[in-house]
Symmetry: C2
Subunit: 422 residues, 2 copies
């Protein structure tokens, strides 16, 4: 049951938040042994929250999973690392407080990779347990995909919301940089890290974001205006697998059938260079943000994390400064890429979720958008050759979150209509 | 003894870090009962650090006071609030780790206002104990002014480094936004908060910043190139007390005598509007960043903090969005204000530190510069009518930290020469 329906049914008195709580707990009991989405489930505190929810609050009874790089005072916060296993912050991150104040019920902490980097947790892809759910917001995406919660909190430095959302077949929403408060999140890169949402559908992402950002304009629009959609392959299209090309074509044709203006956009000459800028910003900032952790006794951090930090550390100050310089014009760069369109339709990931749990996949189709700070939505479109979900990504202007959410809802509707028509 | 001399004498084998430690502890023992700069002094850990310093490290033996909004694992971190008194983070903020790795010795945590806002701590101004040291980096500025440490860490959202530095007669350096890693700092405003340094002279600020930011170009320059200095009064000059006008004139005339090109700059029409933008950004972000704390039981936070948060909360989303829009062009706004000059000479505060400890003074001459993210240095110039220090502020372009530090060093030298000549 989506968040919009949970809140509406509780408001109408048809259900109680406690009903929803028990329903979600039953789902967790059923699916969790196989999926492993949770680092910590907190039934007692969640039940108490559900029992005290004011049913007229906008997110009344909506259940949340909180990525374990986000601080919580009444649940342990391990940041995905054995180094901090069981540690307990003195506060909730504001985004958690705000969700609870709006009626949300916090079920627990979801698994993430170590410090939201590349060392995977235990989570499996609900669509096929032999495959990675992606990362770093692994547990939040898997929990939503398995129906355990309506909403997962995620964070993204490269592609940590959009990629796992696409792999798990759910909606991932990385808002414009700074739109959701990120205080109390373990920082990797101060210039990139963004808090976002994982939900079952676009309307849920829009509802929750509109409440948490206090931006009514994000609320699901009944009839979005005539959208101009640019089909954008990017400079690394050669890495897109056939299922991704198929998903993009399917979304584009659904849009065209629904009367949208679609246009294939060229890749600006500067685009490929933005990859190096992303790597420079993350490469310079992240090893320094983890300065304390890097000095912990050997064995506290995984070898994968150490290797990743060593690789990031190759970034030079000159490359970092060049990247910051380019970023000063990020709004203009996004405008140039959009070339008069309202939003872009572009890959969310290379293809289906890779086999195995050793890696969480490649953020190649996400890095540039995170760097440019614009809003991104991952939307499931079809299944790939292995039967796993394949998505597309909608990109918008800086602050153009309402457009991106409206476009994503519109595409989802057009895809559903197309399926209905076949 | 300045940090440059501490490190040089230890490197040369003339002193040991342990000598310096004992010397600073003696100073603390003498002055602390009156000044009250410290929230927590940690002689045992500091002595151990001093005893193990590699004497060839760039900051070998340099002692630090850490503003108590900055996380430390081996010392309590109370964020200036009774609500978190005695709490102990699981990590050091990276800036602390980096300072220690460079040879710095962490003496303890310095007093700050509650959550670095306006509810004052116990600290008194070393120049006159009846006066405020300013805030929110109260203890760091007072500790440096009283000679207890070479370096204080500070943070600034409005004027929390520059203003108390001016009040205490020390050098305050707020770098370009993001230059010093701010992970592990209690966030007020994600778009404004900046970590900076308080030191006894400009060379110390340059040395420490060059090491912590890994930017050799910040190192004190022997002979700065011919500086073009703009004298800039700003749109609220009517709030400047006579001693501030005198300090500005004295610095300007010292520069002119030293052969600098000085020029009185007009105040651009947009300048006054930037105050509203600062208030909108801080006003929108801060109450939300403290969402968890605002729900703590009555009495946990001071009435001053509650009142300040209520006042901030009047900011509207429309004003916030307008401010963010203006901020997109911040580099250009700074360029326009600088009007071809390398740096600006402008007030650091309205005048001498106010009498009493109930308030920490007005950041009226700091807000706009924090908003614009450029580098700022507070430099002591003269005494006011009550015998308290009066300073000026040097402002530079985004990323123009080397220029600002060189200009500040040059002005300090010119002032010393002028005094010598009289």
């Amino acid at each position: 049951m989506p968040a919009t329906e949970v809140a509406a049914s509780i408001r109408a008195g048809r259900r109680t938040a406690e009903d929803i709580f028990w329903q979600q707990m039953a789902c967790i009991e059923l699916a969790e042994p196989e999926v492993g989405a949770w680092h910590y489930v907190s039934p007692d505190t969640a039940l108490a929250e559900a029992q005290h929810v004011d049913r007229f609050l906008p997110l009344a009874g909506v259940t949340f999973g909180i990525k374990d790089v986000i601080d919580t005072a009444n649940m342990p916060t391990g940041y995905g690392s054995a180094a901090y296993e069981g540690s307990r912050p003195v506060w909730d991150a504001p985004i958690v407080t705000l969700a609870r104040q709006a009626g949300g019920v916090m079920l627990g902490k979801t698994v993430c990779t170590e410090f939201a980097m590349s060392s995977p947790g235990k989570t499996r892809n609900p669509a096929n347990l032999a495959h990675t759910p992606g990362g770093s917001s692994s547990g939040s995406c898997a929990a939503v995909a398995a129906g355990m919660v309506q909403v997962g909190f995620g964070t993204q430095t490269s592609g940590s919301i959009i990629r796992p959302a696409a792999y798990c077949g759910v909606v991932g929403y990385k808002p414009s940089f700074g739109m959701l408060n990120r205080t109390g999140v373990k920082v990797l890169s101060d210039s990139l890290d963004t808090v976002g949402l994982i939900t079952g559908d676009v309307a849920d992402a829009a509802l929750v974001a509109s409440v948490l950002a206090e931006r009514p304009e994000l609320m699901p629009r009944a009839a979005p205006r005539r959208l101009r959609v640019g089909i954008f392959r990017g400079s690394r299209w050669h890495l897109a697998l056939p299922e991704t090309a198929a998903a993009l074509e399917q979304a584009a044709s659904a849009l065209a059938e629904a009367g949208c203006m679609t246009r294939r956009l060229p890749v600006p000459g500067f685009f490929e260079g933005l990859y190096a800028h992303h790597d420079a910003v993350m490469g310079w900032e992240t090893p320094r943000s983890l300065a304390y952790e890097r000095l912990l006794p050997a064995g506290k951090l995984t070898a994968v994390t150490h290797a990743f930090l060593d690789q990031l550390s190759q970034a030079t100050l000159a490359s970092y400064d060049a990247a910051l310089g380019a970023l000063e014009t990020r709004a203009g760069l996004l405008d140039q890429i959009l070339d008069g369109c309202d939003v872009l339709l572009t890959p969310a990931a290379a293809g289906e979720a890779p086999l195995g749990l050793e890696t969480t996949g490649d953020p190649v189709f996400n890095k540039v958008w995170t760097l440019l700070h614009g809003p991104c939505v991952a939307l499931p479109v079809c299944k790939g050759p292995l039967g796993l979900p394949v998505g597309v990504q909608i990109i918008g202007r800086l602050g153009g979150d309402a457009d991106v959410l409206a476009a994503a809802a519109f595409i989802a509707g057009a895809l559903a209509a197309q399926r209905g028509g076949i």
